[in-house]
Each structure stands twice: as structure tokens, then as C-alpha cells.
Symmetry: C3
Subunit: 365 residues, 3 copies
């Protein structure tokens, strides 16, 4: 990283430079391990001990932290440290070292259309009629199926698979191992299956459990992804059956997430690691699903729903609700229920004593 | 897609053609977005509004829906719409555009044996002694380890990894990123480990928590997969230790599923996304595991077991049972328990009041 | 496999050879399917029936099992069968058939440094300045980003992705599809988001749910992995933000595991399949997480914590504790709570009857 003065950094981040604002730093580090030429990132008071023990001369501080008491020479003071961290890390990120141009081992069908300044790494394969927007950079071993379309300025890392019937917007980022457009998991038996029986009876067992083959419902609908979408390592977005599976602008998806067939994800959602969204579920805008959240098929989540980690959502959720648990319920209800649960074994004892008391009272009557 | 008449489609699907059965359609779509030349897929009454608002002249309807009241010119009427959808989507699926023949960049060991009409895409690698059955189509970047055997008519998409000691039946389909035959997760410490202590004591803490190395138990057993098996994107089936991990004929596995070492999965099972089956578990035939279901190691599930989404199965389950929850219990019991759970915080209040009443009564006596 | 005498095997495993110790075996098998030239693996009395029914002449037996009553000709008797199985399977493992040397299609940047006897398979790509230690074997289609460092004697299977800013110790083993060093899932909105509101209010809904863009916090910290670490198929270890994500010596990670940004995993931990560890969580040494366990972000787990399958850990856990459930609690508490839960619907009936009794008593008074 080129070095920057404290003043330059403060200006770039919309923060306030204090102390020796001409001091130069050439990188960022945790307070305890920062060197004298690095900016210590001290986003709240928990980092004070590290700062004091470390060698940093300058730090990124939250408003209200006293740079002089911390014996710093200079500081960048900000109101919203995580927001500043976004700007700072963007400044410091050297980026992925992907060479420009088309590597001689990249195999591009003659009917594919590449925009201006597209970079293709070694062993990339681009199928017939595929379209890749200008400025896109595709790392090694990526395959882009015949007919897939990718917008401008994509960054697609090694080993990503873009399948058939896929249309992706601008500024797409996919981490290694992402698979877009695999077939949906959709099968049917010739006659009523035991799954249908269980759904209708809520679990009452049935006599007949015939050995039936599962017939495939093919996925013709493909995938449509909006602009500014990022998808994490080894995640999978399945193709829709008749209509496309769709992901709205600005949505970010973490690693090892599964988005099922026909799912509609709104704008600016966050899906954390290991989320599984079942077939034909609909997520509104600004929905946030914590790690390992599951959404049953055909469920609808309103705008702004926030599901805590590992929530298993088995019924529709209205807009703006925070939920938690398995099955998911309102977050504050869940917290009450959970507290009650821990006291439950004791409750049995209390009720037993009450029964004895009442029985004795009644005998005494 | 070549166009078809309503009569041709009805005949192909075993349905009934009504209205102008010579009307031609050239694709399928959701009712609300179907064009005049597309067959609207209206599988139940929820699609009526879309049909009325849309431009479709013809639709696939469930028996009992009135095509004339819906102002259609023609319809294909079926008794089991999802079954018809299987046939219809198969008719309309243009398939994966994988060129025939062996791509010049495919590297095939001279001792590998390829059946008739095998297609290998760019950058495929096939190891020594591997066998690939006739009619199989292997997409780009796939690796097939030395000695692996794959039956006729496989369809293996980009970036799949078929490991050593793997034997796969006919009509295998693997989506991108599938890994077959990675080592099982099986380790042992020289002396008793804290995990063994916890298993024996059901969680009572122990004094000694020695820092011991984990020694690997190697996976010699490989994987055996039957005919007509499909495996979804980025799923993994681990090799067995001494005997093979096995997956029965007709079983379908969704994306991001983990099948552990020594596991035996029966015939015609469905394992939905993010299922994890622990080492040495045994699943009977026709078992259906919903998304994110977990099966503890060494557990046995009988034929026809259906586990609702996110069930965590910690003990054996007899044949034909429907289960739900963590830990999984009978589905109807779980639903009762769950209802009770939501009323639990109130129960504490009721019992407290009872205690006061009884205490007062007793004082009054 | 070359054949071994019973005596040789017993000596290698530190066990006792009994019977005709010069008997030769040329492999191992389950008792029921073992041939006359194979060592039957009979680790406890559950295997007795298989042994009796099978054709094995020799077996690996746990101390206390009577080889003569089992009508064997010879046996290797051991005190800790799983430990012996580790040694035995290591003896019998033919290993991965990865040819020595650099395959002509491997693309190695001229500034990369390869140790002695490194093997690179077909279509491997090694970036500028990358370092690969002596004796390492890299299977086909692997990519190693510019600047990544891998220690001696690594075994990296097909299609693994080693990202930028990655430093890995000796004896690393990665199964197919592993991704090291993808960006962390770390985003921030310009103004307070609904997630922050939910965290502060424990789920009380808020009026404002503005449609805000998620701004990326870049991952500059990379990943540091110790010696003797093994990582399973399709798992992902994300890069840290400012400091590296770190994994200690001897830790073993199963398939489809997600380790988030900034996470610190100690020495000799086991993380089973589908585990998700949230950003900035800290795991001590010898921590064991069962399959599908989730660890919320910023949580600390002490040394020797054991979490049963599917535990969802939402708060810190002290050293040495065994936990289970969602939210995770002490394992023995959870078992009590679970038993109570199943009796909960009945409890409501009992309390209702009590209410009637008490009400009647009070009216009688």
C-alpha cells in the first residue's frame, strides 16, 4: 500500500483528523499488533488495552474516544466506525492479481460476445452465444455455459460455474466454487407419495409406502440476478422450473448458501452462511437471514424481516418482524419461551407439590 | 422449442385435450406472463387470477378447472398436474449444450476405457484405469480419478470430482461441484478423548482435557452408487472406511448435502438441500429428508421415514414414521409440543397464581 | 496391497498376535463379507454374528473377545480398536495415484517458488510469488493465488482454491472443492440498519426500514493455517478483515464447513460437517463441534468444549463444558428439558384440573 497521511484518510472517510495530521501510515492493523507505521483500528473501548500495549502512533477511533489519553500522536475520529472501515479497507485493498487480457488457454466459443477490457484467466471456458460485459474479470478454471449473460464489471473468482439460462446484472462478484443455474430439486411420483400423505395429514402414518420412482421436473426457467450482487464461496442458486429464480439488486449472499428453484429474493437482502431457501419461497426487500437459517418451500417473508441465526421458518412472516427459533417465532416471544424452558423441569416439581396440597386439602374438607 | 398442438401435448402427457385441440404452442410459462403462443401452467385455482389477467390462449389445467370460464381457446386437462409437469418439462427441455466427441484438451490416460459415444468437454482429466460407460457426457473441468467406474449415459456437469474407489451405476447425473469419494471424517486419539467421555457420561464434565493429536483412520472403502441417481451442486459423498458408502438406485440428492463415511442410503430416497448424514448411518428405502435435516452417526432410519425440514435425528426411527424437530420426535407430537411451548410463559403465571390460592386456602383451613 | 502376516500386523499396531501368527492376509473387510485372505475388522461384540457367518480366518479383535470361540485361526488383539484401525488403514492405504513431477499443462508463474519433489497435476495454476513446500502433491485443476504460501508435504486434491493472503503450514490436506481465503461476509449500511436495531432491542420491531445499500468491508487479513490441518470437501475458510482468520495445528475440518472472517480456531479441534462458525468467533484448543453446529459471531468457546450435533451456540461457553440444543445449553440440562418438553402437553391438562379443583375448594370454603 502507498502511504497516506492522517488528514488524507480522514478526508477520504468523512472523519475528523486530530493531532499530527501529517503523520503517514502504510496499512492498518489490530491495535495490539499494529506497528508504528500502521493505523490501529480501534472501533470501540474494547480496543483500548490493545492500543495502550501496542506500538501504534495513530488510530481510527470512534467519536468520544480520547486520542490524547491513549497517548497517540494522531487519530482519525469517526461517528460510525464500521462505515469508516468499509471506506478504509476499500482504500487499502490491493485487489485480486488477475492479469489483463485473454489467457491463451481460455477457450471462448466464436459466437460468444465479450465486452471491452474483459480479462479471462487460464483454462476459462465460455460457451456458444454467452455474453460477458465490459471490464469483467474472470479468474482461472471458470466455466460459463452456452447462452449465459453477465453484465459489466463482474469479478468472478476461480472455479465458478455459470450455468445455462442465466442472466446476471452489473458489478457481480462470485467467490470460488459458486454454482449458478443447477437444476432445481423437483420430483414427482406417478401416484400419491408418502410426502404428500404426510403434508395432508400433518404426520399421521399411512399404510401404503409403495416403492415408487421419482420422476424429474426439468428446470427450464433459469436464473436472473440483479446488479451489485455478491455470492460467497461454494453457494448454489438453482434454476427455476417455468419462471426464473430471481435475486434482486444489491443482495449479498454468504458462503455455502442454497437458493432453491423458483425462489424470489428481493433487493438488498443479506443471506448468511449455510442459509437454505426452499423452492418457490419469496423474500421481500431488506430481508436479513442469519447463519444456517432455513426457509421452508413456498413461504413468504415480508420486507425487512430479520431472522436470527439458525431460525427455521416454517410459516409466512409479515414485514418488519424479527424472528428466532425452530420453528421460528417472534424474537421476543422466543426469548421468553427459552427462559421458561430452562425452568420447565422445576415446574413439574412445583405442580406435583400443588397436586399433593390440593388433594390433601380436598381430603380435609 | 418446436411447436406442438394441444392434442399432441395431451397425448404425450396422458391428459385430455379440450377446445381447439389443433392450437399450437411453442413453450410454457406462468399464467400471468404467458404469451399467446405459450402454454400457461395453471396447476390449481391459485393461478386463476394470473390466467385471467394474462394473454394465454391455452393452459395446462387440473381436472375440475373450467377452461371455458377462464376464456381459454384450448386446454390440456390432467388429473395429477405435477406429474404432467414432469412430462411437459422433459418435452420442452433443450438440454445442456455439450458438444459431442472428445475435446482436444481432455486428458485421458491411455489405460482408461471409454464406451461408445462418450463426450468429454474441455479440460476434463480421466485417470488410469477409469471406466466411463457409453453415451456418457462429461462437461468441462471434470476430474475422474484413477480406477473410478461410471455407468452408461451419465451426465456430469462442469467441475465435478469423482474420486478413487468409486463405482457408479447407469444414468448418473451430477451437478457442478459434486465431490464423490473424499476421505471420511474419522479420527482417533491415542488415549480416551473428551468426546468419548461426553458420550459415556451424557455430558458430565471431566477433569482431564489433554491436548492429544487426532490420528486419521484412512478411507479404504470407496463409494458405490446405484442406477438413476442424481446429486445436486456442491454435495459431497464420502468414502467408507472398510466397506463402501452406498447409495441405492433411484435416490435423488439435492445441493450442498453431505453423506458421511460408511453411510448406506436405500432406494428412491430424497435428501433435500443441506442434509447431513453422519458416519455409518443407515437409511432404508423411500426415506425423505427435508432441507437441513441432520442424521447423527450410527442412526438407523426405517423404510419410508419422512423427516420435516431441519429435523435433527438423534435416535433410531422405525419404518413409516413422520418426524420433526430437534431432537426429532413424531410429527404430530412435535406439533402439540410446539403449541404448548408458545403457551409456556403463561403457564408459569397460572401455576404461580395456583400456588398463592392453595397457600391461602391452606392457611384458611 | 502386499500381504502381511498376523504377527507383522500385530507388531505394527502394538497389539498381540494369537493363533497361527504366520497366517497371511492381503487386505481388510467387514466380518460378514471378509474373504479367507482378508483380516476381518471386528471392533466389538456387535460384529460376532458377522464373523461367525463369514469366511474370515483372521480378525482384528478388541481385548476380551475370544478368538477360539469365534473359530478363527489367528487374530490381532488390541486394547483400543479404533486406534489400531488408524494404524491398519494407514498400512493398507494405497494412496492417491498422483503422478510425480510437473504436468506439462500446469501453469506456474516464473516468480513462484516450488520446493523439492513437488508434484503438480494437469491444469494446475500457480500465481506470482506463490510458495509450495517440498514434497507437496497438488492434484488437477487446483489454483493457488499469487502470494499464497503452502508448507512441505501438502496433499491438495482436485479443484481446491487457495486464495490470496494465505499462509498454510506443513502436512496440509485439502479435499476437493475446498476454498481458502474468500472474502469475509462483512457489510455495513450508511445509517443504522434494521439488524442493528434488532440486536439492540432484542427483536422489538421498528418503524423505519429504509432501503439501504450494503457497503462492503474488504478482507485484507487473509488466512493463517497451522501444521497437520485437514479440511474436507467443499469447505470454506474466509479471509479476515484486518487480522488473519487462523486455524491451529492439528485441527481437522470436515466437509461443507464454513469458517467465517476473523475466526480463531485453536489446536486439535474437530469441526464436523456443515458446521458454521460466525465472524470473529474464538474457539479454544481441543474443541469438538458436531455436525451442523452453529457458532454465532463474536462468541468465545473455551478449551475442550464439546457441542453435540446441531447445537446452535448463541453465547459464550466456558472451558470443558459439553453442550447441546438450540439455543445450546449444558448437555445434561438439555436432556432434562427435552424429557420435560415431551410431557408438556400433559402438564397443561394437569394444571387445568388443578385450577378446577382449587376453584371448587375455594367456592366450598
Amino acid at each position: 500500500m502507498a502511504s497516506h497521511t492522517i488528514l488524507e484518510i480522514a478526508n477520504a472517510l468523512g472523519g475528523e483528523a486530530v493531532g499530527d495530521t501529517s503523520l503517514r501510515v502504510a496499512g492498518a492493523a489490530e491495535p495490539a499488533s499494529a506497528g508504528a507505521d500502521q493505523l490501529a483500528i480501534a472501533m470501540d473501548s474494547r480496543y483500548v488495552d490493545g492500543l495502550t500495549a501496542g506500538r501504534a502512533l495513530a488510530a481510527l477511533l470512534a467519536r468520544g474516544m480520547d486520542w490524547q489519553a491513549l497517548r497517540l500522536k494522531a487519530a482519525v475520529v469517526v461517528d460510525r466506525p464500521r462505515l469508516a472501515l468499509s471506506g478504509l479497507t476499500a482504500m487499502l485493498d490491493a485487489g485480486h492479481a488477475l492479469p489483463a487480457g485473454i489467457h491463451p488457454t481460455a477457450i471462448v466459443d466464436t459466437t460468444a460476445r465479450l465486452g471491452k477490457d474483459v480479462a479471462l484467466g487460464p483454462y476459462v471456458v465460455v460457451g456458444a452465444g454467452a455474453v460477458i460485459g465490459g471490464g469483467s474479470r474472470i479468474d482461472s478454471h471458470v466455466s460459463i455455459a452456452a447462452g449465459a449473460e453477465i453484465g459489466d464489471n463482474a469479478l468472478i473468482l476461480a472455479g465458478v460455474r455459470i450455468g445455462r439460462n442465466t442472466r446476471i446484472g452489473k458489478h457481480f462478484m462470485a467467490h470460488s466454487g459458486v454454482v449458478i443455474g443447477a437444476d432445481g430439486f423437483s420430483f414427482v411420483t406417478s401416484e400419491r407419495s408418502q410426502v404428500e400423505a404426510v403434508r395432508e395429514t400433518m404426520g399421521k402414518p399411512e399404510e401404503s409406502r409403495k416403492d415408487q420412482d421419482w420422476l424429474k421436473i426439468h428446470s427450464l426457467g433459469g436464473v436472473v440476478i440483479g446488479d451489485n450482487v455478491e455470492i460467497g464461496a461454494n453457494s448454489s442458486v438453482d434454476a427455476g422450473t417455468i419462471r426464473p429464480t430471481s435475486i434482486g439488486d444489491g443482495t449479498k449472499i454468504d458462503a455455502l448458501v442454497q437458493v432453491g428453484h423458483n425462489v424470489q429474493v428481493g433487493r438488498n437482502c443479506l443471506l448468511c452462511a449455510h442459509v437454505a431457501v426452499g423452492g418457490s419461497a419469496r423474500l421481500g426487500d431488506n430481508v436479513v437471514l442469519g447463519g444456517q437459517v432455513g426457509v421452508a418451500d413456498n413461504i413468504t417473508l415480508g420486507d425487512g424481516v430479520v431472522a436470527g441465526g439458525a431460525s427455521k421458518i416454517l410459516s409466512n412472516v409479515p414485514a418488519g418482524r424479527a424472528i428466532l427459533g425452530y420453528p421460528a417465532m417472534k424474537m421476543d416471544t422466543h426469548i421468553e419461551v427459552y427462559k421458561a424452558l430452562r425452568r420447565l423441569p422445576r415446574l413439574f416439581g412445583i405442580v406435583e407439590n400443588l397436586q399433593k396440597s390440593v388433594s390433601k386439602t380436598n381430603q380435609n374438607d
